[in-house]
Amino acid sequence: MRAAVLSLGVPMAAIALFLVIWAASAARVQTSLGTVPGPVQVFVQAKALLEDHLLERSKQAEFYQRQAERNAKLLAEDARAEVRIHRWTGKATFLDQIFTSLKTVFTGFLIASLVAVPLGILCGLSKVIQAALNPLIQVFRPVSPLAWLPIVTLIVSALYVTTGDALFQKSFLVSAITVTLCSLWPTLINTAVGVTSVDRDLLNVSRVLQLPWTTKVRRIVVPSALPYIFTGMRLSLGVGWMVLIAAEMLAQNPGLGKFVWDEFQNGSQESLSRIMVAVLAIGLIGFLLDRMMLGLQQLVTRQ
């Protein structure tokens, strides 16, 4: 009973209290866009955004319909006519933008993990490599995403020359790489720490058995460092998600960051409520991502 109250009752009460305080205090703050929206206005806007999404989907269906008719007509006029199917040209809805953000953060996170885990293992295994990389890690780790962004933008523009229908948008790459640069470090450091703390006895056994280097890493080092690696990755994803919003604002990647920025620029009466919807969505998704990584970590370490 006490456990149920603690795990469910207390959080519910706290959330209710938070909503009451929010509703009461919001109405007192006057901004140039009217009063700060309370929970009710935010809920209304959340619903509006959802309806907007559905409306846009139906427009999209009509668009493909029109295109199919057009192409059919072109083919009827000239059987050899070259017809192409074009992608929907309408705006990205709030849900689309959430999806874009998730795609971007996972791309950045994946690249970060692919770089950080092997590098971390090397650092943990070799004192020389660790001594070599340590100063670089310490210098680059605290750099803000906003400082990386202009550099990434210029480099991507210079190296990734595209015409028209490219596989990736530049803004997507810029955001994803910025996420990578900022979320690399927790995984790298944790992996290195995990590898250095592998049981000496196990390493001695591997030496006695004369295991090849790769087998040693695969069978002994990685399994024992896994909890650390996952803790690092969990931290990395959290950092990546936070960084992403800022990166999207500046790189104009059509995700949640751009949504917040665009609404700020719109400056209509609903803008503040919409931004708050985005804030809540960002928080909720961040929480879910963290839970997901925690679940993965538990799943892997239990084996």
Binding site: S32, R70, T89, K91, S157, D262, N266, S268
Partner: protein, 456 residues
């Protein structure tokens, strides 16, 4: 079995030959209708300003789709980002400041040739001052019937600027981009009232050398917030950001650009020169759709009201409907409650608004010279030469003729035989006349500003 479709194809082929022959006999530009589009999926950028509306209308009213174009519209963070993305090919084209293609072509700021075949609108900007400045200005304003007499000249502002100077404070104003219409209009208005807005020099790319008023760049949507925070004391910007200041009660628009220069050319639709060379048919198709959008916007007040609804959506301009409606439906609100009729505040098609006149380009070039962005004197021929590189009336006329042939517009809608000059322009607040054939003589009329071979 296989012979039947072959026969069918031949018949179809013969029929199309017949149609072609018929069309050419009637003098219809059959090639224009059948012209193959080099590129069908396009992405255009815009800044959140009401004068992006021709793009929104061409999209929403399916004028782009009618031309076989699949266009995505995307809001951009600021004018620099927008121009850079057009130059590096991320955008196929964009809603641009008239000065941007000119500046990019001659190398003021980023150098890379950009061209335009379509002017998007006339007028549409205003100058707003903060409440503090307005209270000071009110002390010196001539009144009639309880309202200030319009147009308000910068002579009145000069008294406030002088007061600031005496108190040792800097008077700062914002505009949206160094190559923007707003920059030149603000400078024009200030200089006409005897206030020096400052020169651009090799060492001073902010254009504040010798300035009484320090002018700096702020992106349009951030203007009201920057004014409110006290960083600037006034600004020149397009709508809805002047009306936004009225709605929020943080500032007062004192003059519109229609009052500074009646029917001044405003935004253009700019594309990268390489793009224009590579996709000529697509370019014409885009201009066709935009002409139809302009025509639709000026066709009736009902259309304007509908357009206001459309662009108040968050993916376009996103400001409240009333705020946008205030300037787009024939009136303009100055002080709160002081709403005056201004039917030509936004012109999207009338007065041949969309034709890319060389003389429009030349006016912008004269202003770049006047304020030192073009550091050395140029002969008159140079002005026309640059205008011809950047403004493409041929593309426009191709689009116009195709629309006439399709019955979607009348020949009288377009200045078909224009030599590229609007004729001598008056209607400036200082009463001067602009003859685009003599840019250097024009510059000699100004009390403040570079002329001849002067350097700042």
């Amino acid at each position: 079995m296989s012979r039947i479709p072959a026969a069918g194809n031949r018949r179809k082929f013969l029929r199309s030959i017949g149609a072609l022959a018929g069309a050419s006999a009637l003098g219809l530009p059959a090639h224009a209708q059948k012209a193959r589009l080099e590129k069908e999926a396009l992405k255009f950028g815009f800044i959140k300003l009401t004068d992006m509306v021709p793009l929104a209308i061409a999209y929403e009213k399916k004028f782009f789709e009618d031309e076989g174009l699949f266009v995505t519209l995307e809001a951009q963070a600021n004018w620099k980002v927008l121009l850079d993305r057009v130059i590096d090919g991320q955008l196929d084209g964009a809603h641009m400041l008239a000065g941007q293609p000119l500046g990019a072509t001659i190398g003021v700021g980023t150098k890379s040739p950009v061209v335009t075949a379509f002017s998007m609108d006339l007028n549409g900007n205003g100058i707003t001052v903060s409440n503090e400045v307005w209270r000071e200005m009110q002390k010196h304003l001539p009144m009639a019937g309880g309202r200030p007499v319009h147009p308000i000249k910068a002579d009145v502002l000069k008294k406030v600027v002088d007061k600031f100077k005496a108190e040792g404070r800097q008077f700062k104003m914002g505009m949206v981009f160094t190559l923007s219409t707003h920059n030149y209009e603000l400078r024009y208005w200030l200089a006409a009232g005897g206030i020096h807005p400052g020169f651009y020099t090799a060492a001073d790319s902010n254009g504040q050398s010798g300035a009484d008023v320090l002018i700096s760049v702020t992106p349009p949507p951030q203007m009201p917030a920057t004014l409110e925070s006290g960083t600037i004391h006034g600004y020149c910007v397009g709508e809805p950001w002047n009306q936004q200041a009225v709605a929020k009660g943080i500032g007062v628009p004192v003059i519109t650009d229609y009052q500074i220069w009646k029917n001044n050319p405003e935004k253009v639709f700019g594309v990268n020169r390489a793009w224009a060379d590579k996709y000529p048919n697509t370019h014409v198709a885009v201009v066709k759709a935009l002409i139809r959008a302009g025509k639709w916007l000026d066709a009736s007040m009902a259309n304007r009201v509908e357009a206001v609804k459309i662009i108040s959506r968050p993916n376009y301009v996103g400001a409240s409907e009333e705020v946008i409606g205030n300037s787009m439906t024939g009136t303009y609100e100055f002080e709160k409650g002081d709403k005056r009729p201004m039917p030509d505040f936004n012109v999207f098609f009338r007065h041949y608004a969309t034709y890319p006149y060389y003389s429009d380009a030349i006016w912008y070039l004269t202003q770049m010279r006047r304020w030192g962005q073009i550091p050395e004197g140029k002969p008159d021929a140079w002005y026309l030469d640059v205008a011809k590189q950047v403004y493409l009336p041929d593309v426009y006329l191709k689009a116009a003729r195709a629309l006439v042939a399709e019955g979607k517009a009348a020949a009288a809608d377009f200045p078909m035989k224009s030599d590229g000059y609007r004729g001598v322009q008056d209607g400036f607040i200082d009463g001067l006349k602009f003859d685009a054939r003599k840019p250097n003589d024009y510059l000699k009329q100004f009390r403040i500003g570079l002329q001849g071979g002067e350097a700042a």
